[in-house]
Amino acid sequence: MANGTIAANGKTFYEEGTTKAKTGLTAWIFSTDHKRIGLMYLSAISIFFSAAVIIALLMRLELIAPGKTIMEPQTYNSLFTLHGVIMIFLFIIPGIPAVFGNFFLPLQIGAKDVSFPRLNLLSFWIYIIGAFLVLLSLALPGGPIDTGWTFYIPYSVRSGTNISLAIFAAFVLGFSSILTGLNFITTVHRLRAPGMSWFKMPLFVWATYATAWIQIIATPVIGITILLVIIERFFGVGIFDPALGGDPILYQHLFWIYSHPAVYIMILPAMGVVSEIIPTFARRTIFGYRAIAMSSLAIAFVGYLVWAHHMFTSGISDAARIIFSLLTFIVALPSGVKVFNWVATMYKGSIDPKPPFLWVMSFIVLFSIGGLTGLVLGSLATDIHLHDTYFVVAHFHYVMFGGTGTIFFAALYYWFPKMFGRLYNTKLANIGVALFFIAFNLLYFPKFILGYMGMPRRYYDYLSEFTSLQLISTIGSWVMAIALIIVIGNIVHGIFRGPKSTSNPWGGVTLEWHTSSPPPLENFHEIPTVTHEPYDFSQLEEMKNE
């Protein structure tokens, strides 16, 4: 490996920027440095995540007992919609690619930056504009939207709330996603360091690459669908509304043709992070490198073909239901390939259970529960009983929050020393993971049972027999709040007060660990030449001399 530890002038990217202004706000918001852009996404996303968590806590408080507790039904309708819209469009879709993809994709392939740094900054600004439009839709007369994050027709055409503006915000956010995807694909094709062939790329790069393809191909579909809804609302053209001669199921098709692949935009990068963390803390090369890389592409492709499993009870044809149920079972296979390979990687490894590894362990348990209950919903007969119940809510929170959310924290705890050059409190971090895991199951597991018993999702009120399980879930939400305060507080404290970290505290071997912490402006003193497989730990000895 080339010498990558010391930058030409020894300055980190915090001390040297791409803008004329050396410090202050403008040195950040006009910076085209991929690392600064990643950190700006991190700050913005943290704000939206916290807002959506507070909304969720209020909803859980309302559901602590039957009948009205703290809010009116209409407020509740708006809150669950907002919780969904913010979490999906502002946190979990951009989450890992925009923060960690931006920061680490160029580092991991030995590049100075992404292919189009200005486009990268533009996509951040488009994201902020989209977020601003969401906020605007809350404040304007008409009121916050109340349709649920899926904006189903015909209600979304008839509701008097600010639907058009809110979905237009989703349209704008889509452009941010497309531009980021375009940037990543070009970067991976054109800017790999000498010696980094396709099969020497770290698996996080593979996962982000596969995700970028979904971002580019699937996102335009939601864009067109949103425009059609807006046209229908403003001009009364009968595209989806049956009262005007439209087809409401066509809307569901178009919506899920994007939104199901979007689920993989959310989970694939998380799977990439898992493939980074497990080898580092098991001190062992990844088991089945090619299988994991190819399963990312397989998920990206087959993920396009399963969308109608969201619509089994909507009145689609039996032929379609059977085909989509079959395809749903097939898409479980590449996910299974990954899980088995991760577990096999740990076999006979020298495991060091540091906080990032513990996050990954909790991911494997939660994601497996989420994945397996997905098969229950993918079967036609059981889905008819469970459709639109709390079972679905529990399933996707296990997959999305237990999967992607958990890994968002895992990635933060893993790459924290590289991003900030400091360390967090390990003991507190361990407590945070443990409490998170307990709170998570307390909060969401009762929902599986409630759903099975027949509690419908999105309902403001419920029958008295559901009271005790609803109460357990609400208590879980309070424990979760404490866990999140510990987890995030530890990070915030670490950023400002944490002890200085060495450049490679975990003993990682992918390229980001070959440069200093935090990295210099253009990442490496000289572009490294790759001679090793990505997870070849025999190079650790050589790295000590770098």
Binding site: H189, I249, H253, A320
Partner: protein, 98 residues
């Protein structure tokens, strides 16, 4: 890494070809409009989609210069087109048998 030296060699398309393609697009549009007036039953949609496909092929190849560019872009486009085709087919399993 790929070497893109040949990138400098710009392909120059004569204006006459652009005009020709434009005329072809206009005629195909008028065919679409005409066919829409004739009752072809189940084939209406197939015919309309076929003409649309021919039109986009012309635009992508000539106007967007994909015909004269590197093969990798064709692979990317074909992949996207294939995905679209599969999405169409799967959607029709619903609409046809509903």
């Amino acid at each position: 890494m790929d070497n893109h030296q040949e990138h400098d060699k710009q392909h120059i398309t004569p204006y006459s070809l652009y005009v020709l393609i434009w005329v072809a697009l206009i005629s195909l549009t008028s065919i679409t409009v005409t066919v829409a007036g004739i009752s072809l039953g189940n084939y209406t949609l197939a015919v309309a989609l076929f003409i649309a496909a021919v039109k986009s092929a012309l635009v992508i190849n000539i106007f967007m210069h994909i015909k004269f560019d590197q093969p990798i872009f064709k692979v990317f486009l074909l992949l996207s087109a294939l995905t679209l085709l599969v999405i169409f087919i799967l959607t029709f399993f619903d609409f046809t048998y509903r």
